[in-house]
Amino acid sequence: MCNIKRRYQSKLDSIHKYLDKELDYLDSQLYYTEQKHIDNLTMEYSAYKFDNEIISLSSMPEPAIEEIIRINKKITEHTWGVILESEKVENINVYIAQMNKVQINARQANFFVVTDSEDILLKLHDTFNWMNKVFYICPNTYNQNIDDKYRPSINFHCLKHLEKHISTPGSTYMNMLKEMGGRQVTVPNPIRVFCFNSKRLVPEG
């Protein structure tokens, strides 16, 4: 009798699990049909100029070093650096497509974006979030009192901890990262990037 009860219970549990999963899925698809845009950057996101001169860590003031540490806390082993010099961005969709490819291959991937354009940062922040609840663009600003002259260096020191990057062609930071070695920098081909290998998205039989 106990065995039968246990088997019933186990079957019931698995049915519940299955139904919960199905409901979650339907629910997420319902959310998916809504379009809520992020229209403003919050205080944790800011665009900063690029600079060829990088200040070494030892020459940085303490708040700037603390800032690097705080930013790095949101960076994981799955974070990609994204370097976008606005004057070289002809079509932002090229970079969105490349970032899509990253997420198709590694769904937990997020991005640390370095750009001099608020519009670009806003567009990416709006594109790579889920219902304004889950954000895939890492914050880059915690302490707004840090002098702007340190910002390019803060950005660069955060980027250099990352192994993989997407960049506009010939960007200053890309060249510096390459010189350091051991970093992979992808400059997307503006036509080819829209070819998607979607095998990972295809459901199983």
Binding site: D24, Y25, L26, S28, Q29, L30, Y31, Y32, T33, Q35, N93, I96, A97, N100, Q103, I104, R107, Q108, T127, F128, W130, M131, K133, V134, Y136, N189, I191, R192, F194, C195, F196, N197, S198, K199, L201, V202, P203, E204, G205
Partner: protein, 309 residues
Amino acid sequence: MKRISFVCVSRNDNYNGDSVGRCLNTVNHACEIIEKNNVQDQSEVILVDWCSRKEPLKDVIKHRLSPQCKDVLKVVTVPPDIADKHQGDSPFSEVHAMNVGFRQMSGKHFARIDQDTLIGQRFMDWFYHEFEVKDYGWPWPRASFCSRRNLDESQSHHSVFRDFVYDQELSKKVDICHEHNHYSRLMPNKEIFQFYGGAVGVMMVEKECYLEHKGFNEQLVYMNSMDTEFLNRIAAKEEIYNLCLAIDADFYHQFHGRDDGAANDTTQPHAQQEGARKTNSLDVRNKMIENPNPENWGLLDEDLEVTEL
């Protein structure tokens, strides 16, 4: 052989209000933009009239077609007695109708547009001057997908819709329908909703690829999901071009009410506007299924009337 066949399917009824008027706008506009770009020799428009229970569509529209339709438009008529043999209890089997369009086309590429969708100039530039024209040293994918923008009621008016389609600045101000899917966004369950899972602007498949996959699955006779199921089969084997990102969603859906629209399909835009039409099971998006089409899919054995107007 033409390079492209734009295929749309419709019938003479009042689906969601004046569907014939929207269909005419679509057909006239397609032929107009083809002429505007001087690519008539590479293009054709196939309109499949599936199961008009009143007068056939060709008779209703013939006096309202623009002169640009001459030598570009073909109407394939599938009368109710034939359509009913194939579509079971569905009032309108899009999968059969589209496969009929494919069988009757002469183009290298099948390009499905909905009967209420307008083609934009960025697509024309891409298709006629870039796609398979420029050799970048890699093969162009055989299948492409683009979702669409939604013209609102005022933008859809017959007297202004061209402004929004042709003016590059205005065109980008039209809201993208179901924007999430054109970025392939991650969902909260960490799954990715693929870019080809949303509302169709154009679904373009090369003829050989279409044949290899035996077309749309003719068991999916109800509304929606049939295109995702078809593209899933293709995506399992080869790359698909995210045309939506490449041309920034350059297809435009004319506004209409949705009283007769899809029921119980949360993946669709306007899901809150519940209609009455039965939809294909969402399961067909979420698992790979064999296409059981017989060899004569696309009503190959039926004798269908093809009219050039």
